[in-house]
Symmetry: C2
Subunit: 343 residues, 2 copies
């Protein structure tokens, strides 16, 4: 675990043992120690300081391709991480630089210089790059700006509103002048969602989502939703469709409710309402919106500057050894905001 100037270092890495169907558990992965060599020309060796826990990792643990290729068995699982360059064969990136990369879940990674983004500041500060300025932050931004096309005065519902994406959507929507309703899975999370600016929020364990959502709309004196940012699918999606306004937009970001389902879950029974309300439902992935990065960063830096948005993070304890438990916890809805693993 100590970086040395020459020769190899020992590094632990998380590997998938076999492909999954249903709920992941501890027998699905292993923590393996490997030797990591000096970097070849054009590469750097990075000692990771913080790793990202991403919902999309669940998809890559299935053998069937979803939108990303399955993980390769016997290799470290890929995910974003930030670390310090401890050996460099790059003319661009010196030893000591802090870099963001996606070679993921390991202590030391050999990374092509072209796959590194140099970031400035401490790892604790730069963890911002995994959250607000990273995948979940930009996912929230794309969903809000390009898919749901939120504008001032819109009434928007956000599910999983205390999660990494949801908590950012709540803040962006408020920054844009929307009325925001959030749902989350505990009293503490609901409190956080309100603290982030939501005008109404509920714990979905407190009743049927449909009833709770209608209650929130009534509390706000709003007839229905102009938009729904869906992170969960299932009953949340059906409840939202039921109360859409004319010309409403539903941004489909992911459906955590079904990621680990062993059999297909029935979909919403009320899709005909999309016709009656002339509503649009659209799925999106970040990969199609790389061109948005400058606009996204400009928005975020401005909102950070004026205090309209802030990072919400849950740090998993236990270093590299705690990462898998952190992943299972994120799927179960433990923690709030962006889940990270400090090493």
């Amino acid at each position: 675990m100590t970086a040395i100037a020459t020769g190899h270092v020992l590094s632990r890495e998380w590997r998938l043992v076999h492909y999954l169907n249903g709920q992941p558990n501890d027998t699905d992965v292993e923590l393996v120690t490997v030797e990591v060599d000096e970097p070849d020309p054009g590469f750097v060796r990075v000692e990771n300081e913080v790793m990202s826990v991403e919902p999309y990792m669940r998809g890559r643990m299935s053998s069937r391709s979803t939108y990303a290729d399955p993980y390769v068995l016997g290799e470290a699982m890929r995910a974003p991480a930030i670390g310090r360059v401890t050996a460099s064969s790059s003319v661009e990136i010196p030893v000591g630089a802090t870099v963001l990369h996606d070679f993921g879940w390991r202590e030391h990674a050999l990374v092509p210089e072209t796959a590194c983004t140099v970031v400035h500041g401490q790892a604790s500060v730069s963890a911002l790059h995994l959250g607000l300025l990273g995948i979940p932050g930009m996912t929230a931004w794309v969903g809000v700006r390009r898919i749901a096309q939120l504008k001032s005065g819109d009434v928007v519902f956000v599910s999983s509103a205390a999660g990494a994406v949801g908590s950012t959507v709540v803040q962006i929507a408020k920054a844009l002048g929307c009325t925001v309703i959030g749902s989350a899975g505990s009293k503490d999370k609901v409190a956080l969602v309100r603290e982030l600016g939501a005008d109404a929020a509920f714990d979905y364990h407190d009743g049927s989502v449909g009833t709770l959502l209608r209650g929130a709309l009534a509390e706000l004196g709003a007839p229905g939703l102009d938009a729904y940012f869906d992170n969960v699918g299932g009953d949340h999606l059906e409840a939202a469709i039921r109360v859409l306004n004319d010309h409403a937009r539903v941004a489909l970001c992911g459906m955590i409710s079904i990621y680990s389902a062993e059999s297909p879950q029935p979909g919403p029974s009320n899709l005909i309402k999309l016709v009656w309300r002339r509503a649009r439902m659209e799925g999106f992935l970040l990969r199609d919106h790389r061109d948005a990065r400058p606009e996204f960063e400009a928005d975020m830096r401005e909102w950070l500057h004026v205090g309209a948005v802030r990072a919400v993070e849950t740090a998993v304890p236990g270093g590299i050894e705690g990462a898998w438990a952190g992943f299972l916890g994120m799927l179960d809805g433990t923690g709030t905001g962006k889940t990270i693993v400090p090493l």
Copy 2:
């Protein structure tokens, strides 16, 4: 039924007796004879020559508002019709003119001049105005052009492809250079769909829609669908979602499979594919697209001129008395293309 120069005429009209839940039947309506007076200033009296049978009428027979208001009990049911002006108190529209209006299901109607569109030619020719140039034709056009945004080379699936809207979608999509797959409910209808230009077509009674659709794609050597024009919902929608290409568009036009369902039907279990495929599903109603009329008419007249599209009609026998049976038949999928009632 004979127009007279002065005084009232006797007219039969179809009325809804009570609001419906589930399958419509003969006890839901009545054919009533009324006296129709001379027109007030600004009105004309029209002797209808052909009436339209519209799927949206089913929605208006329910007490709960869908996207159109429920029919008023004790009044003639509204729907488009074309007829000859037999008495006029309008300075714009003379006796003898042929007009299109939506005062519907009756032999003689008093119609405000502002609600009349003068059409030229015989009623048999002008029935075109109820089909290709009417609601179903423009619905097809809007769905293809504005919602599914079909372009040359796209592979598109059309359900209810022998119906009023579907048969027009097939022809428009071919005119635009698409590869078209159609589904319909009988061998004769499938033959019609092929005759209208579809590259592949199947009878959905011949197996699961999913298997039949995959078979059609394989036959055409196409990996998946760029667009789906949905007229039925249910298993057709789920099957189409399963084989969408990246960035596919689903135009939701109506869901005839659920119009008369007494309880909600489960929706597609695979909506997560809209995320993976970054696909868009959008409902639409003609009322939002009135501005498209000139562009629609220009397209249609051009396609009619070059023989790229043709009217497909089923005339209900029995005159005014046969209209209700014609409506039930349309819901059951009897007939092809636009269902009309010649009086």
